[in-house]
Symmetry: C2
Subunit: 344 residues, 2 copies
């Protein structure tokens, strides 16, 4: 392959999805292969029920994932669910994890076991800083839905100051203010999802209400989306792609109370290619979906070339009982593998 | 009844719901009797398919309503769907209508036939002003979902200035800014719904997404809700209760694209009583749900005493195939009639 980017195809080298919900059991077996097909690795979220908050549980979950993606070239970067860990636990876990994910209690799916007061987290954070274990954070308060991330920014700032050698990843940022905060503290990083690069609250609730576009944090204002897009397209050296792909069965979405989560794993790379092309930035996609993450986390993913073809692809209506993002719509790009393996 | 308000019961004299969606056919026959049971009259919205934009169609719709509520003491105050009407049409319609309802094109359910440019409406508005026919307005632009009402306020201001003798009702206002605008122009009035007195966007999208709380205009911020509540409890002399009760079958709500509308007709008075009591304002409920509307519109509704008892009532899960607001929850007050007529 002499030209990695031309008008008909692109080759991504070891693309990474730095924020994925794989779930367990039957759902895991539906969704994990789709990520493993498109990506060379990804950060696996630990907010199961019960949470993945011990090494035994983590290794057991890892085994379940390995079985689900058997044969694929894909590194599952495991995370522990934040609780008060001691140094012995974290030293033992360190070879098996890429970081520890902190959820404030009750702010999103399966976060009931999360942290009640950030201050109580500090002893564990000090150990993580010492051991070089990154902190991944769902940064929302329990305030008014549109203010939750912005209200959390002062907590990010305090943590970044208090633990200057701790790598702190602001997960799935959704606001202009969060993007701006990146430039305030050198140890702050961020993941950005596909859907937050495309959606505003208008898409979720401006016409008919769209349960399949409902997620946490909720999509914000146009100026927020635009700031995220600028950061991703540049790309800002401290942002990485993390889909926050979060499958729920249709019965949990089209319901009187609709669960939060957008399932983007199988459509993420085609849609990112389309978007970066529209902004004349295809040559920067590799940095956003892989290079930045390698540098930030210091990981070396398995070698994997992922070919995307510029040929219209209609997104399937369902994967198992999950409605994907862009269901039934047509994307200008597709994973080359799809030529022989159509949607289920 | 010597005391119209005591700790166990209240008697409302001819309560009015100044903004209702009765629909047609089978849905009309389910929902209209519920309004007719609780209220002495109400303003019936004309956004059917096709819209009620001629006298023949209006009289036919009125007949259908009369049949659905046969025997009830209830005055359906009819409205025409705004289009370019001439003076002959409006003079003929005047005895049969309480006002003309203007929808900007495409901003809500069945508004496709609405006004493209407000300026084009001015000749008709001049005739309405001359004939003393009130203008009712769905005041939203097609902008970002949270800004639509605020963006429309300058249009209200312009209309109020340009047609100083025209009664202009800002329907279902949802923002602090709209409340403030009332005090700028003496010919501006407003209806306020029950649900906008109770909900913010947090209730709709802050936890699980709640399709049955999704409406247009969408519920806004806490400070907006609080301003509406102050205006209703006072009550501001130019606000009236208008439920905007808007039934949809469950299949249109718990769906991939959820229709906008909250069905509050059968629960409105019990919940208003509970809310006014909580704010020590039960003695002002009569003004909010009846007296202001009579004065503003100059109507004399049929004489009807509606008794509410302070006795817990569990709201039914369904009325026909419609999930009501507060479904399955308990309200401290109930319509006395419910003693003998339980929920369907």
């Amino acid at each position: 392959m002499e030209h990695l980017v031309n008008t008909h195809e692109i080759v991504l080298t070891s693309p990474l999805d730095m924020h994925i919900h794989f779930r367990e059991g039957a759902m895991l077996r539906v969704v994990a292969p789709l990520s493993a097909e498109a990506f060379a690795g990804g950060v696996i979220m630990p907010n199961l029920t019960p949470p993945v908050d011990g090494l035994d549980r983590l290794l057991q979950y890892r085994t379940e994932i390995d079985e689900a993606i058997a044969g694929a070239i894909f590194a599952p970067y495991m995370t522990l669910f934040f609780r008060a860990y001691d140094e012995v636990e974290l030293r033992a876990a360190r070879p098996h994890i890429i970081g520890v994910k902190l959820y404030p209690a009750g702010v999103t799916t399966n976060s009931e076991a999360g942290v009640q007061r950030i201050r109580d987290a500090e002893p564990t954070l000090a150990i993580m800083e010492e051991l070089g274990i990154p902190l991944l954070v769902h940064g929302e308060t329990s305030g008014f839905v549109l203010d939750r991330e912005r209200e959390f920014l002062s907590i990010y700032a305090r943590l970044a100051q208090r633990f200057p050698r701790l790598t702190i990843v602001m997960e799935h940022i959704t606001t202009r203010d969060a993007v701006a905060l990146l430039d305030e503290y050198p140890n702050l990083y961020a993941t950005i999802t596909l859907h937050h690069l495309q959606l505003t609250l208008d898409d979720v609730a401006g016409g008919l209400l769209q349960p399949h576009l409902f997620c946490k944090p909720i999509a914000k204002r146009p100026e927020d989306r635009d700031a995220l897009l600028r950061a991703a397209l540049a790309p800002h050296p401290r942002v990485m792609f993390g889909s926050d792909s979060a499958p729920h069965p249709v019965s949990a979405k089209e319901a009187a109370g609709c669960a939060a989560g957008v399932f983007t794993a199988p459509v993420a790379l085609p849609l990112l290619a389309e978007m970066f092309e529209q902004h004349d930035a295809l040559d920067r996609l590799q940095t956003f979906v892989s290079d930045n993450a390698r540098r930030i986390y210091g990981v070396t993913p398995p070698e994997k070339k992922v070919l995307l073809w510029r040929e219209p692809w209609q997104v399937p209506a369902r994967y198992g009982d999950v409605t994907p993002y862009y269901a039934g719509r047509t994307v200008a790009w597709q994973l080359a593998q799809r030529q022989s393996r159509a949607g289920p």
